[in-house]
């Protein structure tokens, strides 16, 4: 197999989004029948890489990429995913792309159905052909057989367990005769352990048939068990490209998170004293789509900054959303010893908590309204601020002047770049929008502030300002902060403790000074001794 030329090779691939380098000079090869494990933290560039490979329009829209992608030695540059499909690349996405009301067979052969021509083809085109259902079923069965799993070809997708849906997706890609390269993006994320095991076996079967597979997973032990070779991406660089034999999970974890020295610099040796316990959470579950929280327990002390880290989809985002009442949740949450009723955002706000949502444009802002509205709204609604009585106190209306004053203050403090307090929120850049979200939360002067992904999608300067602001409010006003972020570095730079969430549970709580590899292992679902110690303490 060694002398075989690669089917797919990437040479010096780079990509930047608006000056932000997300991939830098990535090169690797893939041979027929080989399984390549691709690992990396969120934002390491995996998704972008796959988008380039799959010809997603977003790449071309943002200025294309540099470097060379070739298949069988010929350079390709796909204009659309369909071109990639024609070239033999199959992709299984994280979200199911299946039609729930259709059967397995119908989904496997979707838009590639076997057909029998009718006389009407000549009149109205090929779509007037009759479907050849027996043939379709046969093809579906053969694809399923190739996978080596048990799957009922006549079952309706919506009635299937998740694992079967995942198999259906893969079977669909295999069903394309041309498919020689299969890309699987976190295929095991939604599966139970035994289902995942079956999937891995199926992948090995496929590899034996000569299909090359790129396997993306955060479950490192799966990668180690199934892959022949592994490529580690970090900050857009392919930091490691090595055969998997002899590599341990721990090695990979440290390659994944290992950072250049610059990042660790921020922290001084400040002594931290905290007040009494302010928030305690027991057995919290949150039904947030894509970020399910299963069973979370933790406490926060007054004046502390607690960080939540972990990979996307593991549930860390569900924690603040659940406590603030935005999604269905259960369990016990106590603030200052008083029970916080769940699923009631108003009470949560009234009790003195505030939340900066990760979904800035979706939840955080009134995009079509002025900055004044955005900043003052919550304070107005919850605390009755920025209202003034008119006609002898018969009626109270908005105090536009007060709102303007407040907004101008925050524009000053947070250095928000805008044309004025009446500008519309949608016209601001991402970083400035984030500052508006923070201002909104500060305006209600909360005892406890939840901040979710505060630096997502904003530039470096703004990032620093946001983090410094949080730091300042904590130190100067004693604001207790719970911060959720995918960026471990940023958590380490300002948090007092960092909890890593994996599969809806806290895998461990570490001090920010802990070794990077420890964090990496926790994220991959491996229990470490250090973390267990911290957990107990």
């Amino acid at each position: 197999m060694g002398q075989q030329s690669p089917i797919l090779s990437l040479e010096h691939v780079s990509k930047e989004f608006y000056g932000n380098v997300v991939l830098h000079d990535v090169s690797f090869d893939l041979r027929a029948g080989e399984i390549l494990g691709l690992v990396g933290e969120n934002g390491a560039g995996k998704t972008t890489l796959m988008r380039i490979l799959f010809g997603m329009p977003v790449i071309a829209e943002t200025g294309g990429y540099k470097g060379k992608v070739s298949i069988d030695g010929n350079e390709v540059n796909f204009a659309s995913p369909f071109a990639a499909l024609d070239a033999g690349i199959g992709m299984v996405h994280q979200e199911f792309s299946l039609i729930p009301g259709f059967t397995t067979t119908e989904n496997i052969v979707l838009n590639r159905e076997s057909m029998k021509a009718t006389f009407l083809n000549d009149v109205f085109g090929d779509r007037m052909s009759i479907l050849d259902r027996p043939q379709m079923k046969q093809r579906a069965e053969s694809a399923i057989a190739k996978l080596g799993v048990k799957l009922d070809p006549d079952m309706i997708i919506s009635e299937m367990p998740v694992g079967h849906k995942q198999f259906t997706e893969i079977a669909r890609e295999i069903n394309r005769e041309k498919t020689r390269i299969l890309v699987l993006d976190e295929p095991t994320a939604v599966l139970t352990e035994s289902e995942a095991e079956v999937l891995l076996t199926a992948l090995r079967n496929l590899a034996k048939l000569g299909i090359a597979i790129i396997f993306i997973s955060h479950r490192l032990h799966e990668v180690v068990s199934v892959a022949d070779r592994i490529v580690v991406l970090r900050d857009g660089l392919a930091v490691k490209d090595t055969p998997v034999a002899g590599v341990s999970v721990r090695d990979i974890a440290s390659w994944m998170v290992g950072r250049s020295l610059a990042a660790d610099a921020v922290r001084g040796d400040e002594k931290r004293e905290f007040g009494p316990e302010i928030l305690s959470v027991e057995h919290l579950w949150v039904d947030m789509p894509g970020e399910t929280v299963r069973d979370i327990n933790f406490t926060v002390k007054k004046g502390e900054i607690l960080g939540f880290g972990g990979l996307a989809g593991q549930g860390k985002l569900g924690i603040p959303n659940g406590i603030m009442g935005l999604f269905a949740a259960g369990g016990t949450v106590r603030l200052h010893g008083k029970d916080v009723p769940l699923e009631e955002p108003r009470t949560a706000l009234e009790m003195g908590m505030a939340f900066v949502s990760e979904d800035r444009r979706g939840v955080g802002l009134l995009l079509d309204e002025s900055l004044r509205w955005n900043i003052a709204f919550t304070a107005m609604q919850i605390q009755g601020k920025y209202l003034k009585p008119i006609i002898g106190k018969l009626l109270t209306i908005r105090d536009e002047a007060g709102m303007k004053k407040l907004t101008d203050e925050y524009i000053e403090i947070l250095d928000i770049k805008c044309t004025g307090s009446s500008q519309k929120a949608k016209e601001l850049s991402g970083g400035n929008q984030q500052k508006i979200c923070l201002a909104k939360a500060f305006a209600v002067q909360p005892d406890l502030l939840f901040v979710s992904e505060p630096t997502r999608g904003i530039d470096v300067g703004a990032k620093k300002l946001v983090l410094d602001t949080l730091h300042k409010y904590n130190r100067e006003f004693g604001m207790t902060i719970v911060m959720v972020s995918s960026e471990l570095e940023e958590l380490r730079s300002i948090c007092d403790r960092i909890a890593i969430v994996d599969e809806g549970r806290i895998a461990g709580i570490l001090p920010p000074t802990a070794e990077m590899a420890e964090f990496g292992l926790l994220m991959s679902g491996e229990k470490t001794e250090a973390a267990q110690g911290a957990d107990r303490g």
């Binding site: 603030m324 935005l326 955002p345 108003r346 009470t347 949560a348 706000l349 009234e350 939340f355 949502s357 979904d359 979706g362 939840v363 955080g364 802002l365 009134l366 995009l367 079509d368 309204e369 509205w373 709204f377 919550t378 107005m380 609604q381 919850i382 009755g384 209202l387 009626l395 109270t396 209306i397 908005r398």
Partner: protein
């Protein structure tokens, strides 16, 4: 040049075209023997008559319920109010305000029920509102026949029961607002001061309401329901409030309409009324999810202007009754334009 272009884009092509069309009609009017003063008087009158219906669109658009195709629910409440007022023999201002007073409680109850219904069907509000409105009108058709009204001016003479299709309010509250402080210039120009004052007062109240805490919350719900929820606002409650206000405005609107028009029109008359109001506010520049007082004023003015001027001018110019067709095409065209436009913005 660019400035003009920008202005036109902001103002919207349909409005600019309709505005110039209206202008052209005014210019053409004297040449085809249509009196301008009579036209303006007529236009002001219609403007006042219909303004509240257009205004009624605002709260629901702002709260994200879309265009209120079910405005007829409010109109029905207004009809109940005015028929009760006539039944009890109230006359003059007492008759008018009596009608409004009887109508409002019904409007609140209907609006509350209607609002709760719309909360159950988020995303499908407009189609359902339309059919709920239709069904309500047909149900009331039965009620008009059955309810025990006895005032001789209202019931069918030969049967002694069942309300007439058209009831005159002459001697009750006909033109009480229009005549109040009315200014007459010449034979054919009347400025209906009272009605316009009343309408302006209602508009001011709505304007004020939109500035209260509740009004602000309501707008936020329409602008981004998730943001509002995260700020502790119950979007269902705000939507219900907006539906109630819209329904009340519809109820008051029909009474204003009746006093000016002089007749109460029952049975299937309210069926098509919401469409005119919807078209008017859209012509005024509102979209399916954003509307302001300016949209209401411009919309009611342009639309009613069009309705007044096209029949008189076009018909005398072309000697044919083509204006009705123009009205259908323009008003429905503008609604389609608005319904298909938002998709682009959402993208």
């Amino acid at each position: 040049m660019d400035k003009i272009k920008q202005f036109v884009t902001d103002f919207g092509w349909p409005r600019v075209i309709i505005f110039f069309f209206l202008l052209a009609l005014f210019i053409a009017a004297p040449f085809v023997g249509v009196r301008i003063d009579a036209s303006i008087s007529d236009m002001l009158n219609r403007f006042g008559q219909n303004m509240l219906f257009v205004l009624a669109m605002v709260p629901m658009i702002q709260s994200g319920c879309g265009l209120n195709f079910g405005l007829s629910i409010g109109i029905i409440a207004g009809l109940i109010g005015s028929t009760m007022s006539v039944q009890f023999g109230l006359t003059g201002f007492l008759g008018f305000f009596g009608a409004v007073g009887f109508a409002i409680p019904f409007a609140i109850i209907f609006g509350w029920l209607y609002g709760m219904l719309l909360n159950k069907v988020k995303g499908e509000e407009m189609t359902i509102a339309m059919y709920v409105g239709f069904a309500g009108v047909m149900f009331m058709c039965i009620m008009w026949l059955v309810l025990p009204y006895t005032a001789p001016t209202m019931v069918w003479g030969y049967a002694g029961k069942g309300l007439r299709t058209t009831i005159t309010v002459e001697g009750f509250f006909r033109q009480v607002l229009n005549e109040f402080l009315a200014i007459r210039i010449g034979d054919s120009f009347v400025f209906p001061t009272g009605m316009l004052l009343f309408v302006a007062f209602c508009t001011f109240l709505v304007w004020l309401f939109m500035r209260t805490k509740t009004g602000t919350a309501l707008t936020a719900v329409g602008s981004n329901p998730d943001y509002a929820r995260a700020s502790g606002i119950s979007s269902d409650r705000m939507r219900t409030v907006s539906v109630i206000i819209s329904t009340v405005l519809g109820a008051v609107g029909i009474v204003v309409y009746q006093q000016s028009y002089g007749f109460i029109q029952l049975y299937t008359a309210p069926l098509q009324m919401p469409f005119a109001a919807v078209a008017a506010i859209l012509i005024g520049g509102a979209s399916v999810n954003k509307a302001s007082m300016v949209n209401v004023l411009i919309g009611a003015f342009l639309f009613q202007g069009l309705l007044t001027m096209t029949p008189s001018v076009i018909n005398s110019a072309l000697k044919t009754d083509i204006s009705e067709v123009i009205r259908i095409i323009v008003s429905n065209g503008i609604i389609i334009y608005a319904l298909t436009r938002k998709m682009k913005v959402a993208k």
